[in-house]
């Protein structure tokens, strides 16, 4: 199979736990990711993302390709960061892939993150294989973004599985109420 080279990737890791932060950074670096940036909570991450936009020289990068963020942090947690990235008017890239790290106790809350536009979940405890699989999913299987009155984020339907209660989507690509933006 053809090989990927992550040398040109810039990844932002947002994690309050020093040991886990070092672990993720170390793992991604060993996998060949060119540039890694770390923040200790969502607030610091927001400031950093703004800096990338306003002063890339100072930030040390022109762009961030992927955000890998823990969920539980204080004062600004992963969900607040995700909301800012996807919805805030000052957000620097509303389409950026966002991988949320979740602990086992947060399993019931994943729908909440999905509805805020999360791209992938990485559950703790994690292995090298699981970290790589999530990065690979982001590279190989990007989804279209959907913007409706109530949602903005990657398409929440990953597969066309058919639905027991019938198709609830009333619009498709040909509907005049649908606008398709390509870029």
């Amino acid at each position: 199979m053809a090989k990927y080279d992550l040398e040109r990737f810039s990844i932002l890791i947002v994690e309050d736990n020093l040991f886990i932060r070092a672990l993720i950074a170390n793992s991604l670096k060993t996998m060949g990711v060119g540039r890694l940036f770390t923040c200790e909570d969502g607030g610091e991450a927001i400031e950093f993302l703004k800096l990338v936009k306003t002063d890339p020289m100072k930030a040390g990068t022109m762009t961030i390709d992927i955000i890998v963020s823990d969920w539980q942090m204080s004062p600004v947690d992963g969900m607040m960061l995700l909301r800012w990235v996807r919805r805030h008017k000052d957000s620097t890239d509303r389409f950026i892939p966002f991988i949320m790290i979740t602990a086992f106790s947060e399993a019931e809350r994943v729908a909440e993150a999905r509805d805020l536009g999360v791209t992938e979940f990485l559950s703790k405890p994690f292995s090298i294989e699981s970290v790589w699989k999530k990065i690979l999913a982001v590279i190989d299987r990007p989804r279209q973004f959907v913007h409706t009155a109530t949602y903005f984020g990657p398409d929440r339907r990953r597969q066309d599985l058919g639905h027991e209660d019938g198709e609830r989507r009333t619009l498709d690509d040909r509907s005049p109420e649908v606008e398709i933006i390509r870029g």
Partner: protein, 172 residues
């Protein structure tokens, strides 16, 4: 159907972009289908994780010391238990997220229990403080004896003792 000539209001926007990350990863020539990184790199990353796992017991011992320190303060200064509980909970949160990754799921389990036990609505009686100590003692045993995985019989015994302590002091 919309009236001819009248454009209905847009309700849904689909954004379909070129896959720039794939372009970055696959290089100038590019290729179709899925890619991978070399098995060698993954093996190196795995080795780095193993190396960190070896340091984990030392690291977590320091956190256990911090828990004991907070426990001692709870005993010495009962009036300030609320703030000590917050610190206990913060450390427990750190620990519950780590243990499993480094081969110590029992640490995660006990830390999770401690985290739940020290929540904002938890009681702060002397009995509660005893149960907190039972949690920290269990963690120390796990680390000192390097009880990995589910710990087998020892693991079961530890969790049983912890549940018995919670039962004995009849606190929630």
């Amino acid at each position: 159907m919309a009236e001819p000539g009248v454009k209905p209001k847009v309700k849904v926007r689909f954004y379909r972009f070129q896959n720039r990350l794939k372009e970055k990863a696959a290089g100038a020539a590019g290729f179709k289908g899925s890619g991978e990184i070399s098995a060698d790199l993954l093996a190196k990353a795995e080795a780095a994780l193993q190396q960190m796992s070896e340091d984990y017991p030392d690291w977590v011992s320091k956190l256990v010391d911090r828990l004991y320190e907070q426990h001692r303060r709870c005993v010495d200064t009962p009036g300030q238990r609320r703030s000590f509980f917050e610190e206990l909970r913060r450390v427990a949160h750190d620990m519950r997220g780590q243990g499993g990754t480094f081969g110590y799921p029992l640490i995660s389990e006990v830390a999770e229990s401690l985290y739940q036990f020290t929540g904002p609505h938890s009681g702060q009686s002397d009995n509660h403080i005893e149960v907190i100590k039972a949690h920290i003692d269990a963690m120390r045993v796990i680390i000192r004896n390097r009880v990995k995985g589910d710990g087998g019989a020892i693991g079961e015994q530890l969790l049983k003792a912890l549940r018995a302590a919670i039962e004995k002091y009849n606190v929630k």
